[in-house]
């Protein structure tokens, strides 16, 4: 699908209507600006709508496959490595396990779920490359994969989704050339050159490790402003570019980022660059839990997370959250949470059978 016309005249760079961006820096709110005299509003609207134009989308729909409804003892909403562990434990006792595994789109971090052959049990089915659709009132979960809607009716649900990287917000962070870590890693995997003067900022350890990956792929990182120094031995060039205590406060450029301003206390420094990569905070995916009716822990400053009790069960009976979905960033703790939740479920399933 492609939009065939856009809100421009000539090309994007030569568009004369772009003058409005300079005249009205805070935005050209035509609905209010042209409201006086009120009786002429209709005429003005016609003119403005003609100026704005309307995008055209082809009316050809993609053929969808029939929706499929599946029953499961345990549904695992995967993405976190802990999902694989939970799937294996549940499938090993013969429970019917369905794992919804997300696509590898940028923004999905913290690894993938189990590979199919790892859980060789026939009672394991995975719905790969899926997008989460949502939860129904009866607790069934819908996901879309390969042009098909899957509706899973589970007895028990384990939420083990990967984290989601958030942007770091500063003036002009939306300029082309500024990207998030996951996007940068996706481009690196495709051997796309990233830049010749790159600034990496954000979570210290991830930023330093990203600087290393960028360097290894032949890109040049010029500065890594981070809050705290990263402990351990580092190469000389890493020591040279890492800037603990410095904060990136603003980016500048016309059509693309060309420089950034960094500050440390009252010291301000401008650095020329052609790319900025941000390693933003990792948030928990709470949407499916919210839709299932699980309670969410929301504190003033921290990232909202799914509230879990003993055995990693949420406030909704039969729904569990493990790994990063339960707020566990540490991989060992994440795996442990998978074991506890899965064993708990297995015990309940066995209890019902006897």
């Amino acid at each position: 699908m492609a939009v065939k016309s856009q809100n421009i005249v000539l090309s994007r760079n030569l568009d004369p209507i772009a003058i409005l961006d300079h005249l009205y820096k805070r935005g050209f709110d035509y609905q209010h600006r042209f409201i006086r005299p009120a009786f002429a509003k209709g005429i003005y609207q016609k003119i403005i709508r003609r100026m704005a134009g309307i995008g055209e989308v082809p009316m050809v729909g993609d053929a969808a496959k029939p929706a499929r409804r599946l029953q499961a003892d345990v549904l695992i909403i995967g993405g976190d490595p802990a999902a694989a562990v939970a799937a294996m434990i549940c499938a090993s006792v013969g429970a019917r396990v369905i794992e919804i595994r997300p696509d590898q789109s940028p923004g999905s971090v913290h690894g993938r779920g189990a590979e199919k052959d790892e859980s060789a049990s026939p009672s394991y089915v995975s719905i790969d490359n899926s997008k989460m659709m949502g939860a129904f009132d009866d607790g069934s979960i819908a996901a879309v994969s390969g042009e098909r809607l899957y509706i899973v009716e589970p007895m028990y649900t384990i939420i083990a989704e990967a984290g989601r990287e958030l942007p770091i917000v500063f003036p002009n962070w939306d300029l082309p050339g500024i990207m998030q870590e996951a996007a940068c890693l996706a481009l690196l995997r495709q051997d796309v050159p990233i830049g010749k003067r790159i600034i990496v900022t954000g979570a210290p350890e991830r930023a330093i490790s990203l600087a290393r990956s960028l360097n290894k792929a032949g890109n040049e990182v010029v500065a890594v402003p981070i809050d705290d120094p990263v402990s351990g031995e580092h190469e000389d060039w890493i020591e040279k570019i890492s800037k603990p205590g410095w904060r990136l406060v603003e980016a500048n450029g016309r059509n693309k980022v060309s420089s950034v301003i960094m500050t440390k206390g009252k010291v301000r420094e401008k650095i020329d660059c052609d790319c900025v990569v941000t390693s933003g905070p990792i948030s928990h995916r709470i949407e499916i839990a919210r839709q299932l009716g699980c309670k969410i822990r929301e504190k003033k400053w921290s990232l909202p997370a799914i509230l879990v009790g003993d055995g990693f069960e949420t406030t909704k009976r039969g729904v569990f959250a493990i790994g990063i979905s339960a707020g566990l960033d540490d991989p060992d703790k994440a795996i442990r949470s998978a074991e506890i939740a899965a064993k708990n479920i297995v015990a309940r399933i066995k209890g019902m059978g006897s």
Binding site: D62, A64, M132, N172, P281, I288, Q291, E298
Partner: protein, 90 residues
Amino acid sequence: MAKKTIACLCEDVTRDEIIEAILLGYRDIESLKRYVGFGTGPCQGKQCIQFIRELLSGMGIDPGAGITSRPPITPVPLAILAAKEERDEK
């Protein structure tokens, strides 16, 4: 070049517009969202809500609960949702 801090990329909402709305008296995420329009685009607030929570916290306001989550969590073509259903024993 004008310095603009975008808070919500999907709906082109700036930090200044949100602060203006907070000063007008919209002091919780749900009413702010309805007034300014952030979190109503394709990402449904997944990228911007945390920034707005921090903005409110920074102004000494408790952001409270986030916005209601409704399906679809990720954008899905309507044709897929409209497809008829087949029962599968697998």
